[in-house]
């Protein structure tokens, strides 16, 4: 019985495959691949929220008289499922561009496949080194860590930090890449690195590493990891007696309102460089935050903001291309000049964000991010 129904389902799925691509004023198909299920679903759902909010605005105006139809596929954080999703979006849904996937790991697997098919793919949250080197159709709107971290460390130096200890999650590509960047930036900034400690991204106990670091009395502790372990590190650091005299410096993973929700006052004082923050007071951002709150009943995070901008950037490029042809869209993307919630945006010839102008240094205070003092 089970077998028969599975076979039937397979037959239906396969029969639907060669769906014809209607021209004219049919919606322009765009795909996204995000983590919507499994342990890392928080990131993907935030991104989807940002994308869908932007999509509403785009479709209210139309792109050259047409609407955009967005299909969001789940990768569950799994490499194979991410590739399957990309192939399904391109081969069956005939999308003209792909947004995502969520993690740098997934992009390393998906990017070559999409690039091979000459379809533009834009990462909104992939900050690792080497993403856009995958191929000429791979873009990202997220600032790589190598652009953000030097700004953060410069602020730390301005606060007379001379020695630093580094901590990172050694089992995910995002954190490891962020750490590599942080280490290089610290060396370049002339900081004395006292210790390098790693942990697993699912770990909950960091006491051994923190005790060791505390004995070395560094001026600052740099952490590259996703927000969950960063929260754990900060909470435990306070229990182990780290005071306000130690400056905690976060990587991109720390840049999430969840840090305050989980770690509370233990996170106070942490600084992090960010292409965006919720309290930025330019009108575009204020409008975005207000709309996001109205639609979802919560604050957006940077993943939602980056996704929101990315959708607009893509719609703008499709509009300027004049036709939903992937190659034209790619050329149009390269010529992007966008003023989004993250600030003025253009691509480098290497398809990375060109400007770090929008980078602000944030500091945690009372469980919320605000602009850091000098």
């Amino acid at each position: 019985m089970l077998r028969r129904s599975l076979l039937a389902a397979a037959a239906v799925a396969l029969a639907m495959a060669p769906a014809a691509f209607a021209q004219g004023d049919a919606p322009i198909p765009v795909g996204a691949i995000e983590i919507l299920s499994g342990p890392n679903a928080a990131y993907g759902t935030a991104i989807r929220a940002g994308l869908e909010l932007a999509l509403e605005e785009v479709n209210a105006q139309g792109v050259g008289g047409r609407k955009i139809a967005l299909t969001v596929e789940d990768s569950a954080g799994n490499k194979d499922q991410a590739i399957n999703a990309a192939r399904k979006l391109i081969g069956r849904d005939k999308v003209v561009a792909v947004i995502g996937p969520t993690l740098s790991n997934e992009m390393f697997a998906v990017g070559p496949v999409v690039n091979e098919r000459k379809i533009p793919i834009i990462g909104t949250s992939t900050t690792a080194v080497g993403i856009t080197e995958i191929g000429p159709y791979v873009f990202r709107t997220s600032l790589p860590e190598s652009d953000v971290i030097p700004v953060t460390l410069a602020r730390a130096k301005a606060r007379s930090v001379k020695t630093i200890a580094l901590m990172y999650a050694n089992d995910d590509a995002f954190s490891k890449s962020g750490f590599d960047t942080m280490k290089a930036a610290a060396e370049k900034a002339g900081l004395n690195i006292l210790a390098i400690e790693s942990f697993g991204s699912k770990d909950t106990d960091f006491s051994a590493q923190l005790t060791k670091i505390r004995a070395l009395k560094p001026d600052a502790v740099g952490i590259s990891a996703l927000v969950e372990p960063v929260s754990g590190v900060l909470l435990q650091a306070r229990q182990l007696g780290f005071g306000k005299d130690t400056l905690f410096v976060g990587g991109n993973g720390s840049n999430s309102p969840k840090l305050g929700e989980i770690a509370g006052s233990a996170a106070d004082g942490l600084i992090v460089g960010s292409p965006w923050f919720v309290g930025k007071d330019d009108p575009a951002n204020q409008a975005f935050v207000a709309k996001f709150r109205a639609k979802y009943g919560r604050d957006p995070d940077q993943f939602a903001a980056q996704a929101y901008d990315c959708m607009h950037i893509l719609a703008d490029a499709i509009g300027r291309a004049g036709t939903p042809e992937p190659a034209k869209i790619r050329d149009a993307l390269l010529a992007t000049k966008h003023g989004g919630v993250m600030g003025p945006f253009t691509f480098t010839p290497g398809r990375d964000p060109a400007s770090t102008e929008g980078v602000v240094v944030l500091a945690m205070q009372g469980g919320k991010f605000g602009i850091a003092s000098e």
């Binding site: 050694n170 942990f199 697993g200 006491s207 051994a208 060791k212 229990q239 989980i262």
Partner: protein
């Protein structure tokens, strides 16, 4: 620093032991690799979180959540495993059925509650650290140590001092003989599930409190270490689980503190493999004779 690291190690070890108590009981007596165990751990923590948000104190939330997790364990054991036990299916089937079970359960819980990490309301237990000499310990950590000691004591008492414990032990040693002795194995299985579930639930609350991280997958993250502890300690061996848990915690912390934090995780599994190679039934387990 050494003193603090030793304390760190003992505290971490206590969380491992606390997690493993119910696991080793379930594994040792019911003879199945029940992968749903981690789910009871998560369920206990989430139940306590919900109660705490309704304003319950930790002293109310802890036992209630623990009992709740116990009940969930009984229901799931009944749904997933009674049928297999009745037809005496091979142990692989139970592994597989609980594998499917946890996949469904965790995913359902995540799509219902979201994958976010939550913490118990701050102040439910004081987060301040006590200073003993140079060594810092928090109230939550003392609670974990105390609870682990208490639970180990209570379990040993139960297993050694009561008729019920005798029945459970008989089941662990020789299920067929236990049946002949007039022990209702179905009832005993339900009871063992209940006790294990309660232990898992209590562990989830306390460990969630200590690490300030409660989320649907928290039990899943503990499972691998749990395996190491119960295998090294010997299946079904309460004292073994305690000792192995503490030893593992101390060794991990010392490795991270004095060798390299990159090796912290590997060392647990190196110990596991080394122990199995040299003492195939666990460091503290009795030698299992080959049945001929």
């Amino acid at each position: 620093m050494l003193a603090q690291q030793l304390v760190n190690g003992v505290l971490l070890g206590a969380t491992y032991a606390l997690f493993a108590l119910g696991f080793t009981l379930m594994f040792g007596v019911l003879r199945v690799i029940n992968l749903t165990y981690g789910f009871y751990f998560s369920a206990g923590a989430l139940l306590a979180l919900w109660m705490a948000r309704q304003g319950a104190s930790i002293w109310l939330a802890l036992p209630l959540a623990s009992l709740g997790a116990g009940c969930i364990a009984v229901v799931l054991d009944w749904m997933l495993l009674t049928r297999l036990r009745r037809v005496q299916a091979p142990e692989l089937s139970s592994l597989m059925v609980t594998l499917g079970g946890v996949l469904a359960l965790y995913s359902a819980l995540t799509s219902w509650l979201g994958p976010d990490i939550r913490r118990l309301p701050p102040g439910i237990v004081s987060a301040d650290a006590f200073l003993v000499g140079d060594v810092r310990v928090t109230a939550a950590q003392i609670l974990i140590l105390g609870a682990t000691a208490l639970l180990v004591g209570a379990l040993l008492l139960l297993m050694r001092g009561t008729r019920l414990g005798l029945a459970i032990r008989a089941m662990a040693e020789k299920p067929d003989a236990a049946q002949l002795m007039g022990i209702d194995t179905g009832q005993a299985a339900a009871l063992v599930s209940f006790i294990s579930g309660c232990l898992a639930g209590a562990g989830g609350v306390l460990i969630g409190l200590n690490f300030n991280a409660i989320h649907p997958y928290m039990g899943e993250a503990m499972m691998l270490r749990g395996f190491v502890v119960i295998i090294v300690g010997g299946l079904g061996d309460i004292r073994g689980a305690l000792l192995a848990g503490l030893a593992l915690g101390v060794i991990e912390v010392m490795t991270a503190g004095y060798v390299s934090s990159g090796l912290k995780e590997a060392v647990a599994f190196l110990i596991l493999v080394a122990v199995l190679w040299t003492r195939p039934s666990g460091l503290f387990g009795r030698a299992v004779l080959r049945r001929a």
